[in-house]
Amino acid sequence: MKRYYKNLILGIAVLSPMVFSFTSCSSYLDVDKYFDDVLTLDTAFTKRVYAEGFLSNAFEVMEDEVCDMSTGGLGGYALFASDDLLRMGDGDLTKKYQNGEYSASNTLTEDKWKRVYEPVRKATTIIYYIDNCKEMTMSERADVKAQAYFLRAYAYWVLLRQYGPLPLIPDAGFDISMTYEQLSVQRNTLDECVNNIEQDFLKAAMNLPAVRTANNIGRPTRGAALAARARLLLYAASPLYNGNEDMFSLKNYDGQKLFPEEYDEAKWARAAAAAKDVINMKQYELYVAPSTETTVIPPLNDTYSTLNYPDGWADIDPFESYRQIFNGAVAVSKNREVIFTRANDPENAFGDLLNLLMPFSLSGNNSIAVTQKQVNAYYMRDGRSIDDAKTTGDYQELGFTTGTDYDFLPPNVSLQYANREPRFYASIAYNGSIWECESASDAKFRNQQIFYYKDLSDGKLYNNADKFPVTGIGMKKYYNKEDFRGAGGYVVVKFEAAIRYADVLLWYAEALNELKTGKSYTITAFTGEDVTISRDVEQMRYGMKRVRVRAGLPDLADNIYNDPDAFRASLKHERQIEFFAESKRYYDLRRWKDAMVQENMPITGCNVDITKGDLLRQDFYKETVITTYPKLFLPSMYLWPIPQYELTRNKRLTQNPGW
């Protein structure tokens, strides 16, 4: 017996440490303690820094895919895919876009579908979680939430503009554990999309502040939300979307037609009222620079030369007024014309754009070309078109300047480029224009007159195919006379005016023009009161005249205002000039359904095979078809194809017509 007790004690002594080495089961597998100080979705939004960080990260898409003015190709190639501007090199992308060499399985650089739904989801997450952030005050939370609404709506709008009706993400978002079947959502109708996006813009507008300080100038404001809404409604009223027979065949998975079948004029009225909401804020005005005596001065005009802006241009310099919006001369926070801007980082795409447009001999890439069509669009300084001026002999195709005969023009410049409106000189680097490059340390780079004749260093002969403007016409917009990228030089920081007031004014005029004379609509404004909208010429003039006078051009004649077709033509013409190289024309031509005509015209320019010493130097300016950039536009191209990779993922997605 005694031995067994001995055994027992020994056994217990040896075994018991083992037993107690088994810790409690439930805590053994518990890993929460390791994650206590680590961010999770629930904890992240309780802290201001993370909530702000989420918003910052969600907006990041504004710098690339959503940014129309990005030159890296990320924002799509709209800038170089229309009939006004070309970019050489870059893997012949411009040619591919211009010539319609894309399809559902080859979307070139256009990957908005892939990337732009991401901010939609991120914004939805922020909207859902932001109320957890007790570190923020109620109004701060409301602001963040409103910014998220703005982002979501903006991202959707960018997608809508590209692809047409979209599948919308439910407000609660998707549960990631859903089956692919459940995640395959079909496209909503155009009206549902527009409605949804408009509601988001309105929610944003309710809580966004009207003004931002300089260090938050990139955040949306109430004006930005209202302006973006006005643009959305204008698009929805435009011919491409409003009763467009060509789109009736587009159906969703269930067979429902996605485009409205009836033309609805009231949509124009709502668009006009929305633009009016922005105008009524009385916060924005077109940018004007005080008059100087050294630049392009409009001809003396009995009315406009004596009156101050906006009734005339007596106190402003139209050339500088237009140019300074784009060349960085004025800070965006000091510019009342800018309603929404983004990509304010000095390293952003504008630096790249400037590099592209600078002549090769001035350390640039020399690879932006402006089409002859765009050059011809600019008015003469007296407001006549070049065709009108030709009949009176004021527009001359032959001959060169001597350097003293025309103010502002150096010698040896084609007379084609004489006596044009101020916006021409602010936008176009014609053959022989002067590049100041004031920041260059070496004097030989300053104030150079740059020619694109074949045998010169900026011409065809000495540069490979992507290092000279194939049309013989370069671009000056976005160039500041101080800019120089070579030794000693610097580049003035520029801002993108994503939405500027000039746009709002022209939307207003455009929308009003489309209303039948005599018909009026009562619409509830953003402020809550009812407004009456009708084709009121004075209201149309309010929009159109401001833009033209700022540019040093007289207002349109009354007979044009009274004729909807004539006014429409003038308005389109005005937009083509005013918004040159702002990625607007690409989308305008599509929403107007003008692309079939406009984008099937061959691209023309100068004859870049002519050398400087050629006896027939004149021939350089003979309009020549640029065969290396063929143009092709098919009816299917009004909407982009939905990428093939998405169609294989989402079984319920229906492809756009013709793809």
Partner: protein, 1027 residues
């Protein structure tokens, strides 16, 4: 779980307290133990069954005495002999017990799950066992001996580099495309590594294949389990075992490259046949042929320069075992060294950069009887390895061997400068080997385990409680000493004075050193309650209840990602219940209730049950009466579920992780950049382990105690395989989060079997044996987009099936090209490869890529061997082979001139008869052979010809003579003079012959271009001395 744990603990304490007296009459037994020739056996351990603590050993005359109760059973155990059991009740006076030498036997004991041993006849699950003797091959890693030796294992060795030359293997093939398809390896019951284990230390080796065998490992056992137990001491005299092996490794098939002239001529042909100018003039070829310009036309055979024919390896092992009634021990130590085959001898460095691998293994297993019923087992084992390698990785060196043409650069320019080509990072292999430094890798591993066995027969006869605790730790340090010489390139011309025009491509960098390290530790605790009893002679009952918990933590290499420091933890309660009636009707129930830290709270535990049953038909009386020669005929079936918790490379996939990310700038002039945050991984709810449903039907047959066969048919359906969801529609905005989900499903079916025949003709004893394993997989569900071309989907085909275009041979002429579907990869000429337009759209493009053939990892593995012994001689041969394996060859050495100036040409492709040569070059229409091995040559790559297709698909199957062994036992009269019990000298030839349809390099390495360290061929002499 908390409750269960409490119950176990209290049960355990209760049992300990409940010792009781169990009295029976004790008598002393005397006896002599002999072999069949009546020679006495010394050192046989004799003990009482179930009481390993009551033990003695026979003396030099084979005599023993032991005290035993009248109902006890005496057990006799001796290495090389079958265990013998003698009931005490049958013993009268001094007895003579004859022990039989070990052979295939019904009473063979098999180690099963939980480290328990079970007689083979009572098994109901699918378990393969291996005779350790057959695994004693002269390689550094025991894993190399598995394939062809062990039924149910499919694997391949992909490199022969010392220290890296192990075999990647899977039990019954790869049955999941989830993150972890590897088998669980248990050494002494603890999850440990198989590599680096000293084969001499292994006592038993079992492979648990079906669900009933692995169920108690729950969520860890889905891919099968290897159970290895190390040797322990036996009571008796000191047994000293000395073994010395001296081997010589040579390279097996190594790709051979062509000489400069053939190369230059082929370059010219490749250029001219595509209407380009030739590169080498006739004068150049003359210079090459006469070796006139060693700088610009060097004509070097790089393989000859950097590779030796062979290298030595050796292993010395010493083990001691023995002990007495209170303590027994097994102590061993071994040293293994293997040198690499790089020729670095003549290089002017004071250090060697050749690959070499050294390993010191040690192991001490001690068993102590603390009380008559308490046994303490302590095991300490481990190793230390020391490895040296050239600083450039072996893949760099081998790829530069296959990249560098004989004419690219010389070994050294005549002006003493060191050459390079390309961008300067590409050097000739000799420079890579000798001029870029070296690295040393040092690894140390210590494995300790303590087990306490308490016999509780005082409470209940047959009840035993076993507790184990183990602590393992390992550390690896790598110190790299890197340098670069100054590198130059000579343009292929000379200046007016005839000097080389040299260009310095890269500056020298002095010797710099850096280090990296990794390490981990593992705790493991286990408590087992085991009960075994035979009731009324006929009813055999056993049960096992096991609780364990395990923790593995990285100790080095912790990054700022939190998950890298969090221990991997498992815990489980598992059990087994077996019932057998007359060893005739057997049934088992197994379960594992296991938990893993990898899942969210409330979802951490899973229950994995398995049932199995067997009918031993041969035990039926009518069989025994009528078919006396049928020793065993058993049919088994099992079904069960097991799991896999290591499901993704990412841990805690249920959690969302938020990290800093791209930012946006709100302010003017970039004045307000707010740091962005985003969700980088979105946690998925409802995640669970991968589950396997396994069926196994097996038959065991023993005829006349000579013929033995086992065949198992299996079916493994793997569900809930974890995958990152890659097919989220972008319109959900979730695409960038790539959440995980239990989506995948696949099926793996197959059969494995083993057979042997043992007999004696005259004095020659022989055994014929063979085994095979075949597995076929079918992916049932996979996260992928629907494809209008079903054959382009993973779903519905073998996992990792080779895919490519179907080649229809070579184009005969232009008309053939014009009338065939358009091939979209580039302009085709006659002699280029013609492909099949599978989808019939008139175009040959990526849409015509179809699954074909098998997988690179073989689907079928077999082994066959013969053992002979005649008097003191023994002979053993093993053939091993694989079948149903395909791979594509590609790359610079296979596709001639795909890399223009780089890309050496294999000798195998230089024979003009093997390629299509246009009549314009050969002036002979017959050379336009449309059945040639190579298409029309091209220079700088050919997108049409050089792509995966049946044209380049090779059969990966092979048959190798894996092992050839002779042995001679020196007569005992001679050996006794040296005080040795037994002396054996032997020769092993390892991997001496390989037969395969594809013979450019060893197909087992699965390399597409042969640029890999070849598997070695070894001749080894060994001497074994037992004292």
């Amino acid at each position: 779980m908390e409750n269960i744990k409490r119950i176990i603990c209290s049960l355990f304490l209760m049992l300990i307290c409940a010792f009781a007296v169990n009295a029976q009459t004790v008598k002393e037994i005397r006896g002599i133990v002999t072999d069949v020739n009546n020679d006495p056996l010394t050192g046989v351990s004799v003990f009482i069954k179930n009481q390993p603590t009551l033990v003695t050993a026979t003396d030099i005359n084979g005599r023993f005495k032991i005290k035993a109760g009248q109902y006890d059973i005496l057990v006799l155990k001796y290495i090389g002999f079958t265990i013998k059991e003698v009931p005490v009740s049958t013993i009268k006076g001094e007895i003579v017990i004859t022990m039989d030498e070990e052979s295939q036997n019904l009473d063979e004991v098999v180690v099963t799950a939980g480290g328990m041993s079970q007689r083979k006849i009572t098994l109901t699950g699918a378990i393969s066992t291996v005779n350790i003797k057959t695994m004693k091959v002269p390689t550094g890693n025991i894993s190399n001996a598995l394939v062809g030796n062990v039924t149910g294992i499919i694997g391949r060795q992909t490199t022969g580099e010392p220290g890296e030359n192990n075999t990647e293997f899977w039990i019954r093939g790869i049955s999941t495309f989830g993150a972890n398809a590897k088998a669980l390896v248990l050494v002494d019951g603890i999850e440990r590594s198989l590599d680096e284990l000293n084969v001499e230390d292994i006592e038993s080796f079992s492979v648990l294949k079906d669900a009933s065998a692995t169920a108690i490992y729950g969520s860890r056992g889905a891919n099968g389990v290897l159970v290895i137990n190390t040797k322990r001491g036996e009571a008796g005299k000191v047994n000293i075992n000395l073994k010395s092996e001296e081997g010589y490794n040579t390279r097996s098939r190594t790709p051979e490259f062509t000489d400069g002239i053939t190369y230059a001529k082929m370059v010219n042909e490749a250029r001219t046949t595509r209407y380009q100018d030739p590169i080498y003039s006739n004068q150049d070829i003359e210079i090459i042929g006469r070796n006139l310009d060693t700088d610009l036309f060097p004509n070097v055979n790089w393989s000859d320069i950097v590779l030796k024919n062979g290298a030595y390896n050796n292993r010395e092992t010493l083990s001691l075992s023995g002990g007495g009634t209170t303590a027994r021990y097994y102590v061993s130590g071994s040293y293994f060294k293997e040198d690499g085959m790089y020729d670095t001898a003549q290089k002017s460095k004071k250090y060697s950069t050749n690959a070499s691998y050294e390993r010191y293994n040690y192991r001490t297993n001690v068993d102590l009887n603390i009380t008559q019923t308490t046994l303490l087992k302590i095991g300490v084992g481990g190793y230390l390895t020391n490895e040296t390698k050239p600083r450039m990785s072996s893949s760099d060196i081998w790829s530069s061997l296959s990249n560098l043409t004989p004419l690219t650069v010389p070994r050294m320019y005549s002006n003493g400068l060191i050459p390079t080509y390309g961008d300067g990072n590409t050097m000739n292999p000799e420079v890579q080997l000798s001029q870029t430094g070296y690295l040393t890798k040092w690894e140390n591993k210590v494995e300790t385990n303590v087990t306490l066995e308490q016999d509780l027969k005082s409470i209940l006869s047959g009840l035993k409680l076993i507790g184990t605790f183990s602590f393992d730790t390992d550390n690896t340090n790598i110190i790299t000493r890197a340098k670069n010489p100054e590198l130059w390139y000579a343009d292929r011309r000379r200046d007016s004075q005839g000097n080389l025009v040299m260009r310095r491509v890269k500056e020298a960098s002095l010797m710099k050193q850096s280090s990296e390290s990794s390490g981990q530790r593992r705790y493991y605790s286990e408590l087992k309650l085991n009960y075994e009893k035979i009731l009324n002679k006929d009813h055999r009952i056993s049960s096992l209840l096991m609780y364990y918990q395990q923790e593995k933590t990285s100790t080095v290499g912790i990054t700022d990602v939190v998950t890298t420091s969090i221990p991997y933890r498992n815990m489980a309660l598992s059990g087994r219940l077996t019932y057998g009636y007359k060893d005739r009707y057997l049934t088992d129930f197994n379960f594992g209730y296991t938990g893993s830290e990898n899942f969210e709270k409330g979802k951490r535990f899973g229950f994995f049950p398995a049932i199995s049953a067997a009918w031993v038909i041969s035990e039926e009386p009518f069989i025994q009466d009528n078919f006396y020669w049928l020793n065993m005929f058993k049919v088994r079936y099992s079904y069960g579920e097991v799991g896999n918790d290591q499901i993704a490379s990412e841990r805690f996939p249920y959690m969302s992780f938020i990290t800093t990310s791209a930012s946006y700038n709100w302010g003017e002039y970039g004045s307000n950049n707010v740091q962005g945050y985003r969700i980088t991984t979105m946690g998925s709810s409802n995640l669970t382990w991968e589950k396997a449903q396994k069926h196994n039907l097996g038959v065991d047959l023993v005829i006349g105690n000579k013929f033995n066969a086992t065949v198992d048919f299996f079916k493994d359906i793997r569900r809930d395989i974890f995958m990152q969801r890659s097919q989220m529609p972008y319109s959900t905005g979730l695409q960038d989060l790539r959440p995980y989900a239990n989506i995948g499903e696949m099926e793996s079916k197959g059969v494995d079997g083993t057979t042997s025949f043992t007999d004696k003709i005259g004095e020659v004893g022989f055994t014929l044996r063979g085994n095979f394993t075949y597995a076929k997989t079918n992916v049932i569900n996979y996260d992928e987009a629907d494809n209008a071309l079903p054959y382009q989907m993973t779903k519905g085909y073998r996992l990792n099936q080779t895919r490519g275009l179907i080649s229809l041979g070579l184009f005969e002429n232009q008309e053939d090209i014009d009338t065939s579907p358009t091939q979209t990869f580039g302009v085709c000429l006659p002699g280029d490869i013609k492909y099949k337009d599978v989808n019939g759209d008139g175009l040959v493009n990526e849409k015509d890529v179809v699954p074909m053939g098998y997988t690179t990892v073989p689907c079928f593995v077999y082994g066959a061997g013969i053992s002979l012994n005649w008097r003191a001689f023994d002979f053993n041969i093993l053939f091993q082979g694989t079948g149903k394996s395909d791979f594509f060859i590609s790359g610079k050495s296979v596709y001639p001139f795909i890399g223009s100036e780089t890309g050496n040409i294999l000798k195998n492709v230089t024979n003009p008869e093997d390629r299509w040569i246009s009549r314009e070059i050969s002036n002979d229409p017959a050379t336009e052979n449309i059945n040639a091995m190579l298409p029309r040559l091209s220079y700088g790559g050919n997108a049409n010809n050089y792509r995966n297709s049946t044209y380049w698909k090779k059969d990966g199957s092979y048959l190798r003579m894996k092992n050839l062994e002779f042995g001679y036992n020196i007569p005992r009269e001679v050996s006794r003079k040296f005080f040795a019990e037994n002396v054996r000298v032997g020769f092993i030839g390892y991997n001496l012959l390989v037969f395969s349809a594809f013979d450019w390099w060893d197909p087992e390495i699965g390399s597409s271009d042969g640029a890999a360290y070849p598997i070695s061929k070894t001749y080894s002499l060994n001497l074994t001395v037992n004292f």
